[in-house]
Symmetry: C2
Subunit: 260 residues, 2 copies
Amino acid sequence: MLKWNIPLTVTGKCNGETWVVTEYTIVKGGNMLWKLEAMEFPLSYHISVIGTSGLIAYGGFFQICRPKKGEKVFVSAAAGSVANLVGQYAKLFGCYVVGCAGTKEKGDLLKGKLKFDDAFNYKEETDLISTLRRYFPNGIDIYFDNVGGDMLEAVVANMNTYGRVAVYGAISDYTNLGKRATLNMIDVIYKRIIIKGFLSTDFSLNEIKDFMSTTTNYVCVGKLCVLENISYGIEIIPYAFIGLFQWRNVGKKIVQIAEE
Amino acid sequence: MLKWNIPLTVTGKCNGETWVVTEYTIVKGGNMLWKLEAMEFPLSYHISVIGTSGLIAYGGFFQICRPKKGEKVFVSAAAGSVANLVGQYAKLFGCYVVGCAGTKEKGDLLKGKLKFDDAFNYKEETDLISTLRRYFPNGIDIYFDNVGGDMLEAVVANMNTYGRVAVYGAISDYTNLGKRATLNMIDVIYKRIIIKGFLSTDFSLNEIKDFMSTTTNYVCVGKLCVLENISYGIEIIPYAFIGLFQWRNVGKKIVQIAEE
């Protein structure tokens, strides 16, 4: 039996529901726990670029979307922890990539540091269908969806035949600020669109190995930019968590509790 | 150059748009036309059970839905030209099949002649989510969707993990009587649901050969019940066409213009 002590209990409130960060967790010994091989990376990388975020981006893009070189890829919430990596993988693979985000600064980051082909601030757009038509005059082949709602509807309207939508989040549903996607099923039929939900736990050991070797290599040679947004101290957790739903972050949001 | 003469022009009106059945059609010679091998079947079978309807049912069920024996299959518009065959294929394959239709008579036909495990009249139900939970206490694995709208929403709410939705029609969108499906994308993600549109032209020659040999065999040995609804005379075409959107038919709607 292993036991960690966390020195403080933090109680937060989120959408009226109280949630608690526990002082300690009791886990059974066995294959649930193993010692992390840090591989000379910062520990944070193991929960961002070579952790769950990276796996969702890599597995989702390559296994769920099955891209071909030159295809047109759209990424929403593109400065977020997963989507920024999807865009970078897609560029490295040879796709045309446009991302959207909620501020001009995030758009500049996507086009500059992350080398997206283009980016736009969706908050400055009133007609998403026309906006996407402007950025994708030849249609969208792949959409990596963390948003749902209006954006998903607009993508389906701009999608090419045999388009693929990989869905790993629906933040407009979580927050209730937006509205659920009302899909045009006639488009789905005639364009033979595939919409597929997935989780990080869906990938096989071989797929995970492939992800790890490709990604660690990209990081080591500087081809993949690692975006992390680290706050410090257990007290910050509620603020950090709520920030995810207020689009406050760029890259992976991490709360560091103790020194490495 | 080949030329057929049809003895009459029929003009119909559908949703305010005038459409015309032409007196003759000019088609180029070449590989667009070939002589039909009737194989001792009625000619009508070549546009129903061993024609497009059968191919959509067979290819859609086996290629798009990838069923496993024992899986739970739901079919809407289940007395229709395609869906009645999906249900029959699914039963012959070893699945549990429930269909819905718009009259008690259609439901009786599904349970009786077509050997569905169960059937219900959706017009008698007020809460489709609860209705489906009643017929599928262990959830739905496969949905063959010709309807869209409320029914698709209710299916997603009742779907099992790794559920598949094959979409080949959205009659509630065509008619504007219903409303478009507003999907719960959180369900789509956590249950890893696949929603896939397809057309009869999507299947390979090998898949078509497989469909033909299996289906002609089933028909010859009487395992597959052929439902056709034949009207006579070119003048009936507008009425027959509009009837498709008024759920007037059972099985494949065919207008026969001349004697075989």
